[in-house]
């Protein structure tokens, strides 16, 4: 990547983030809430896209990492009274460790096998949430008490259940994950990753350790997903088995495909469009899953590069 391309990408990302910062002053209450949710889901999708878009690995089990972060953070608050930053730290460690183990096993497989193996591990994760009901309270799940969602910050109390605080925390997290990925891709390791996607055999022949590079991206991806899960659990205060289910792995895929796999801001665009659409559709029809199914097929048939992918192909080849 040339320096000027990097500058353009950085500028674009900063502009988008600045717009998001300003948006909270003009959006009505409900849309602030929706935007908060979208940003957290965008972090999840950025994590998913890191793997699909930049190394070319399609996981069908990312809900497992989202749920890992969600439960690691939530349960340490709920059962052990951890402070919020400590709980968030625990979730990062837990999801990094889980993705290291799962990655080390699943990356021995490729293509279709990889998809199915990740799906199966995620299914085990979902069942584990149900099985350890003494801790997780199974399907009913747990709600974090209001007192656990506050922390002292010098002389002030930071209440993360507050709408504005929550919005800005989500924004910071999104900025951090986008920044992390941007700088990662700029470096040598990022180039190795994309080289693997473009031609795995040649990359290996050139002497790069393909497995290590894939594993590194897998851990980055899983940890970002876990961070999103932790944020979701702490900001919205509910931990439930539903977040570990297959459907949430599919949603990440859907968001990524719509926005454009292998683009930095594609996940955000995909999440915003898709979540807004589901929300509107559910006012009209209860068959929104039907529409999701149709969109999946339409995207994969005629539009496999997604929105930003197409824009890059036609107008802006510098897009990362």
């Amino acid at each position: 990547m040339t320096a000027s391309a990097f500058r353009k990408n950085l500028t674009l990302t900063l502009l988008v983030l600045a717009a998001l910062l300003l948006l909270q002053f003009v959006l009505p209450e409900y849309y602030v809430l929706m935007a908060t949710r979208m940003m957290v889901l965008a972090v999840f999708t950025v994590g998913f896209n890191a793997l699909l878009g930049y190394v070319g690995l399609l996981s069908l089990g990312h809900a497992m990492f989202f749920a890992c972060g969600l439960y690691a953070a939530g349960l340490s608050v709920y059962h052990f009274g951890f402070s919020l930053p400590a709980a968030f730290g625990v979730s990062l460690i837990a999801s990094a460790a889980l993705s290291l183990v799962i990655g080390a096993i699943t990356l021995r497989t490729i293509r279709v096998s990889f998809m199915i193996v990740t799906l199966m591990f995620a299914q085990v994760g979902y069942l584990a949430v149900l099985y350890f009901a003494e801790w997780t309270n199974g399907q009913e799940g747990l709600s974090l008490p209001a007192s656990a969602r506050q922390m002292a910050l010098g002389p002030w109390t930071l209440n993360i259940a507050d709408a504005v605080t929550r919005y800005n925390i989500a924004l910071v997290l999104l900025a951090a994950s986008l920044g992390l990925l941007l700088f990662y891709l700029k470096g040598t390791r990022g180039r190795v990753a994309t080289a693997i996607r473009d031609n795995e055999g040649r990359t290996e022949m050139l002497g790069f350790n393909v497995f290590a590079a894939k594993l590194e991206m897998f851990v980055l991806s899983g940890t970002l997903s876990g961070a999103a899960g932790a944020a979701y659990g702490l900001l919205f205060g509910y931990l439930g088995a539903t977040f570990a289910s297959f459907q949430y792995s599919i949603e990440a895929l859907l968001f990524t495909l719509l926005g454009g796999a292998g683009t930095l801001l594609g996940p955000l665009i995909g999440v915003v469009l898709m979540v807004a659409m589901i929300d509107k559709l559910s006012e009209l029809t209860s068959a929104y899953f039907l529409v999701i199914g149709v969109i999946l097929i339409v995207l994969i048939l005629w539009f496999p590069k997604g929105i930003l992918g197409t824009i890059r192909e036609r107008w802006a080849p510098w897009l990362l």
Binding site: M1, P28, E29, Y30, L33, R37, L52, G56, L58, R111, L130, A133, N137, G138, Q139, E140, G141, S143, A146, A161, T194, R197, D198, N199, F236, G237, Y238, G240, A241, T242, F243, L257, A261, G262, M277, D279, K280, L281, S282, E283, L284, S286, A287, Y288, F289, V298, I300, L301, W302, F303, P304, K305, T310, E313, P317, L320
Partner: protein, 430 residues
């Protein structure tokens, strides 16, 4: 950077796709699809999150029909405090996450006066705390024993139907004294089933009985025969509560397995709601007993209120839809939507409720309620309301299957279900 290999990249006619997607986008953002009816002055807006899809869809459909009938009736009676009642329905997919989002949407976008209608306990457990944070009165039409356990909050009420704990406690004496003291429980392996397991174990013990086996079955199970060998020979009563689509299989396989030498069987109607009793697969249930909150089949001593309720909701004497006799209602649960709406009406009238700025008055008015008399507003029967725990208590029915219909053989008193709870939501901040 261009990818040579992307697992999903394919060469296709992109132009056509752009058009298709563009068209969809326009359709979605055009004003025609935006729901009309925002913030008209002088209406009372009630948000109704319903299980239209997902595992609770059979219930959701009838909840919606019942609530629609009740709202229509309220408006015919002149509305609430002279204001028209508008019900806004959205699907929650029987999913805790979506259920929570819908509650948020009702509170912050539609700015409703109150929310009612959630049934499944996992959805309630997720959504109630958000309703409390958003300070919107949230009325659940669920049997979840969450309120009495102190797990919810000041804005959450259950004024339409008794919770599992009280149901079980009210019926245990009859089970112990009439059909047997040695009980094997078969229940779904999640919170709803665990409530049954824990509360019934304690309740039958108090009657001098015991639970001889507890068989937990995963809620998605489709075949049951392999669980039956766990039923001990000493069993006098099989107590089953299985919510899920596989219930007919369960009954059929139990019948095949046990044959005519069966112990007494006591079940919860929950699993057979929306299911026709008159199917060959259920023949084995003849002579067994069921809990019913509200008798599905019109009884010999049917009250005029029950007649009225059936007529308004569109249900015949067999608990089926008048339009389609094959469409069976969820009779033992859906009345809670009806009764809840009339409780909301009563509380709003007490508080002289005019608009959302009086939500706190509505909560306080609810907490001052103590009892509801049997009537058109409360066709299931009289009830007691505990303002501290926000939980209502009513009579339960035990029915016997006779000739493919359910006949009530015992009706409990309200007092049988009352239990002590240290919970006092009135002490929480408003």
């Amino acid at each position: 950077m261009h990818s040579k290999y992307n697992p999903l990249s394919l060469s296709m006619q992109r132009r056509t796709a752009l058009k298709t997607l563009g068209g969809a986008a326009i359709a979605l953002t055009s004003p025609a699809v935006l729901r009309p009816g925002f913030a008209q002055d002088g209406t009372i807006k009630l948000g109704a999150p319903m299980h239209r899809t997902g595992i609770g869809a059979s219930y959701g459909r009838w909840y919606e029909r019942t609530a629609t009938a009740a709202v229509k009736l309220v408006n015919e009676m002149g509305g609430i405090n002279g204001r028209k009642v508008e019900m806004i329905v959205e699907d929650d997919g029987t999913d805790p996450k979506r259920g929570t989002e819908v509650v948020e949407k009702f509170a912050t976008q539609y700015k409703v006066d109150a929310i009612f209608g959630h049934l499944f306990s996992n959805v309630v457990a997720a959504a109630a705390p958000r309703a409390g944070e958003l300070k919107v009165p949230y009325f659940i039409c669920s049997e979840a024993s969450l309120l009495g356990a102190g797990k919810l909050n000041r804005y959450t009420f259950q004024p339409g139907i008794t919770d599992v704990r009280a149901q079980v406690q009210a019926m245990a004496p009859w089970i112990g004294s009439t059909i047997g003291k040695k009980v094997t429980m078969i229940f779904p392996d999640y919170n709803f089933g665990h409530d049954h397991r824990d509360f019934f174990t304690a309740a039958i013990k108090a009657q001098g009985g015991e639970v001889v086996a507890k068989i937990a079955v995963p809620p998605t199970e489709t075949s049951f025969t392999r669980y039956f060998p766990q039923i001990p020979p000493s069993t006098e009563v099989i107590y089953h509560v299985m919510v899920g689509p596989a219930v007919l299989t369960f009954v059929k396989e139990l019948g095949d397995y046990l044959g005519s030498k069966r112990p007494e069987i006591f079940g919860f109607i929950d699993s057979l709601e929306a299911v026709n009793f008159n199917t060959p697969q259920l023949g084995f249930l003849e002579g067994t007993y069921f809990w019913e909150a509200y008798p599905r089949y019109a009884q010999a001593n049917q009250t005029e209120f029950d007649k009225f309720f059936r007529e308004k909701v569109g249900v015949d004497a067999n608990g089926a839809s008048i339009a389609d006799p094959k469409d069976i209602s969820t009779y033992s649960h859906m009345f809670s939507c009806w009764e809840t709406l009339f409780v909301i009406k009563q509380a709003m009238e007490m508080a002289n409720y005019r608009g959302p700025e009086q939500k706190k008055d509505l909560v306080v008015a609810m907490e001052s309620m103590t009892s509801f008399a049997e009537g058109k507003e409360h066709p299931q029967g009289a009830k007691q309301f505990n303002g501290k725990t926000h939980q209502v208590f009513g009579s339960q029915n035990i029915s016997k299957v006779e000739g493919g219909k359910l006949k009530v053989v015992h009706r409990t008193k309200i007092e049988d279900g009352l239990y002590e709870s240290p919970t006092d939501y009135t002490k929480m901040d408003l």
